[in-house]
Symmetry: C2
Subunit: 654 residues, 2 copies
């Protein structure tokens, strides 16, 4: 066994599967425990050879290093998990997402580079292409012998991808598309695999045929030959050093009237016949484009998952350090272990509870993805389930990546000067995950998308992120807060229905009270936003929307917090080990109460909490920190991160 | 003129001094405008030669680069500003601190390395040494021909420096001290200038003579010869790559029975005669040590200042980007400038207002430092003014560095993917300043120190940071909240006294109401903490203190927020330009209201705000964001950061 689940100091004679830690690990690993185990073993093996010790590498060496690791990964079955079995894949999209998530325990450059290769690039060929593309490319993509790019973002358009300005104009004389960047703002940028390794790019461009534009489509454009030389008409510029993720070769791509055959168009949702006639199963340009984007939702889900993994690694390191590091004499004459200070517990333990909460919500999201896109087929554009999935993916991505940024920062600070040293890993975790809040959709824009879905009851084509379009659309709709009927929601509803209303201060620990509070807040905030937006006319829609902007984002946030709580409650309910369930129950309490504490101004303002009850919430957080402190190590060990990835030098010398 | 204060697009015919921007700059630059101008010109000149383009340098090259820049800086008069005139200095400690602050506009590695050399190392020789040390070393320290270290932190003790374990044992037979590291936990670590450039170290060690320990003292220990070779008995280990500040050569130092002459002791506060007799003007070991530390308070003040400079640079870049970057179509058909979105204004403008507030508070703090330590002499250990200064320095350092971390993060996110590219500077600002929250005193520990001062009315030797000692001490004291009588406080009191109490919702914009609210909160929180701590007995003091830990830290925070508001109010009052005063008045409103908004739960819980008033505060923040949006550029331009340090590539291609 390459990694060891036993707690330090345990006798080693207990079967690992008997410990509380192991029970929790089983609980966390869930349905796809086997995939998780495979990736852990791969990472542990690589780590033994020092594969993740990148702190002394320059940008060039780091890229080479990660390219090598990508090849090593290509030899496992992980990369193929999400692809159809006939092309060497595993046909299980959930497994693919979980395997990306687990890569988040290692060097995040490898996670992102493999996400570019097999998630974005391979995923686009798979989901936007048709049999001719699959047959020709998927085997080489899966095996890693053909590396590629996902060229969507442009200098001038990141969030607003509908406004992309690269063009692909059909020339019926030669049956070719001419791919062109009209100016600098249309250059593709931040494109992974572009600066060094990519040979083929999925390029998103405005498709023009017979003098008419049909909106954004994706085409396959070769950018380098087999010797790695950049092809004529293509200009590649290196994005250079970044805050982190320097093992990924991001670059700019510009196209100067580059010709590709008609069949280069990934034509699942729109096609051009030889004579230039455009056809598509979806009439509206916008709806078609957002349907295409919707099939790629797994990217955001993977980012949310790997943000969670990085957060778990940071917390594991910080908790271990806080259990060893002592500072200032205590009442017994010994120096006090810093995790015994309430202020230190408050830095780490609520964040740990939230990490558990997000883990279970992510599990439910992946399950939902599996149900809808199980074998790789995407749902139709009108499918409400698909749009709810996209909304949830967007919301969890935003919440999970902000949580990662905040928690890794807190973990760094909790380790003082030692936490600033590269050898102790926290610096790279911080720098690498920092971009997660703005890539694969800027978090603020994503929350807007969540709010839009709630406000319009998922009535429109969904991915359109424009505030103006949202504002106008909302102004015209009958809106209302309708809770979706997830499995988790049903568990919660049964729980709430079965519980009498409590009025004493102990109620803050009552799960039914907590659940009602979250659901009620969601409904109230959403109705408030709806009321404000309905006051808008077509003319002042933007103004009205903009002045309610913070309110709109808040609606999305409280919705996601409620969804996360539902998932956590359902997870606790299905735990069949009594000790584990008791512990998770407390962790769930800490999640809820720390969320209420952070937002208690709202609850007070809206008469949902009295002053004494609000103070009871604060006291409850303190009490839970104290009670969970002895279990902190168990809770992080249950993440079962390979030992070589968390045993940093500072744990040896304190 | 090397840098240009005029706004982009201004005619160039207006004299720079007539613009609102220039008036604000004059206001911000204050008493030491000349020092600020000198440093700006030095940085601008260096930047023209590409001196701050370090993004492609490895650790080794970056260190060489910064060492070169340190030499260039040594040729200006800045390094000497805080040293006595007879050794080539300027004799003005305030000017020295401001010059460090201004270095924060450039490469922060240079700021930190020069802070190590001239602030910590030189400052210790100056303030803890006597004439014999001054004559022998200060001229070479000032000129930069002798580089040195400030060797305080050990592997085992960072915050609790009273517990340092390096020993300096006097040997009367040879009239030498034997400096020794008993084990790994006693090794000095994170010591700037240790890994590469330092030749002499100020080493903090437990002084032992005649078999008795007298607490921590500082000695001069040579660590390298003139050829840069490490001396016998000294072991140097490189701390290796760090999250940031890689231009500074931090390292570990271990001492194996290293002998230095008796006169190596920096003997201002304690001395050993040839026969080994110990003498000191201060009887208590603890009080003596904290008096020594107190003289070095300028280090924290400089960090607070340069954190402010880095924050200003990040905001300047982010505001300029937000004024150019457009995304999503607006109602007039054009794409909307992102600073026009309320959510974007909320990310940047309250942070900008707080940056102004902290600037004026920093100015007052530097003035106070100048009054107390003007020519370099430190106040006596019993001087209450000195202890108030240390408290304020600790508190502002904590608040300013957390503000920097949060604001630079927000600025990075506000620039999306572009903000993640090293060439756009935000990544290095983030990585370099990250350690500010934990070095020169961990922020949490510093807030504890502030609280202790307030709770004990500055009665004890002040720097003792131990929670247990604090708890016991507080439990024995009569405590109470007494507001200090600063110049700013007097301005505020006159203002409050002259204003009738308002009860309408417009009151949220009433300065007197705001000031009363802050002062009242401070008093209430402090009294609450005092009540909880007085309940402690000697035996349970730690337990009681620890369970009130968050309350204690909160008392410190709200105190500092009130002090900062006082400074801002006084600054607005002394502004003699009407347009500037009107603008600053609004900025001050935004500072206050965004602080109240963030803490409105407390105000609601304690009956200080009604629900409608709390909602008026939120609406007030939104209104101020809208009203200040057209002035955002003016407000950042007024920081007058040399153009070459803020004109990053992304500002050209959007």
């Amino acid at each position: 066994m390459i990694f060891d689940l036993r707690e330090e100091g345990s006798s080693g004679r207990l079967g690992a599967m008997d410990t509380l830690t192991a029970v929790l690990t089983r609980m966390l690993d869930g349905r796809l425990a086997e995939v998780r185990r495979d990736v852990r073993e791969h990472l542990a093996k690589e780590a033994e050879h020092g594969a993740f010790d990148t702190t002394r590498l320059g940008v060039t060496e780091h890229r080479e290093h990660v390219a090598r690791q990508l090849r090593a990964l290509a030899e496992t079955k992980q990369p193929g998990l999400g692809f159809p079995t006939e092309y060497g894949g595993g046909g299980d999209i959930g497994a693919a997402v979980v395997s990306f998530e687990m890569l988040g325990f290692g060097d995040l450059s490898l996670m992102v580079k493999s996400g570019v290769q097999w998630g974005l690039f391979g995923g686009a060929v798979h989901l936007l292409g048709t049999r001719r593309h699959h047959e020709r490319y998927l085997p080489d993509i899966v095996s890693g012998s053909l590396l590629g790019c996902f060229a969507m973002t442009e200098v001038g358009h990141g969030s607003d991808v509908q406004g992309l300005r690269t063009t692909a104009t059909y020339d019926p004389d030669t049956a070719e598309f001419v791919v062109h960047s009209p100016d600098v703002l249309a250059h593709k940028t931040y494109i992974g695999n572009a600066a060094r390794d990519g040979r083929l790019a999925v390029v998103f461009a405005q498709l023009v045929t017979e003098g008419k534009s049909h909106g954004v489509h994706a085409l396959l454009v070769p950018i380098r030959n087999e010797r790695g030389e950049v092809l004529p008409g293509i200009t590649v510029e290196d994005n250079g050093p970044k805050a982190g993720l320097n093992g990924v070769d991001n670059g700019r791509l510009a196209f100067d009237h580059v010709r590709v055959p008609r069949t280069a168009l990934l034509n699942r949702y729109g096609d051009v016949s030889e004579d230039g006639t455009y056809s598509s199963p979806i009439e509206s340009d916008g709806k078609r484009f957002f349907t295409m984007l919707g099939t790629l939702v797994r990217g955001r889900i993977s980012i949310a998952g790997s943000a969670g993994s990085a957060t778990k690694r940071a917390l594991t390191i910080a908790v271990r350090y806080a259990e060893r590091r002592r500072q200032f004499e205590g009442p017994d004459g010994d120096e006090v272990v810093i995790l015994d200070y309430l202020s230190h517990q408050r830095r780490l333990l609520p964040a740990l509870a939230t990490t558990y909460a997000l883990h279970f919500a992510q599990e439910d999201l992946v399950a939902k993805l599996g149900e809808l896109q199980g074998g790789g087929e995407a749902a139709g554009a009108d499918d409400r389930g698909q749009r709810e999935l996209e909304s949830l993916a967007a919301g969890l991505k935003a919440v999970a990546t902000w949580h990662a940024t905040n928690t890794i920062q807190a973990a760094r600070e909790a380790c003082g000067g030692a936490g600033y040293m590269a050898e102790n890993v926290l610096p790279s975790l911080k720098a690498d995950t920092d971009v997660f809040t703005t890539f694969e959709g800027d978090n603020t824009v994503l929350l807007q998308l969540v709010a839009k879905g709630l406000l319009t009851n998922y009535k429109d084509q969904f991915e359109d992120l424009s505030p103006l379009a949202t504002a106008r659309f909302v102004a015209e709709q009958f809106v209302g807060a309708v809770m979706e009927r997830t499995a988790a929601r049903k568990v919660v509803e049964r729980l709430v229905d079965a519980s009498p209303t409590r009025e004493d201060d102990g109620a803050v620990f009552d799960r039914a009270w907590q659940c009602k509070l979250f659901a009620d807040r969601e409904q109230h905030v959403l109705e408030g936003v709806a009321r404000r937006l309905r006051a808008a006319s077509r003319d002042n829609a933007f103004e009205v929307f903009n002045s309610a902007h913070d309110h709109v984002l808040r609606a999305a946030r409280v919705h996601i917090e409620r969804v996360v709580l539902d998932s956590f409650v359902a997870a606790v309910a299905r735990c069949d080990d009594e000790r584990a369930r008791e512990l998770l129950d407390k962790v769930c309490d800490l999640y809820v109460l720390s969320m209420i504490e952070a937002d208690r101004a709202w609850f007070l303002e809206h008469g949902r909490l009295t002053s004494p009850r609000a103070k009871a919430v604060i006291a409850g957080v303190n009490r839970l920190c104290r009670e969970l402190r002895p279990h902190a190590r168990t809770l992080v060990d249950a993440f079962a991160i390979p030992e070589s990835l968390v045993r940093v030098p500072m744990l040896d010398w304190t």
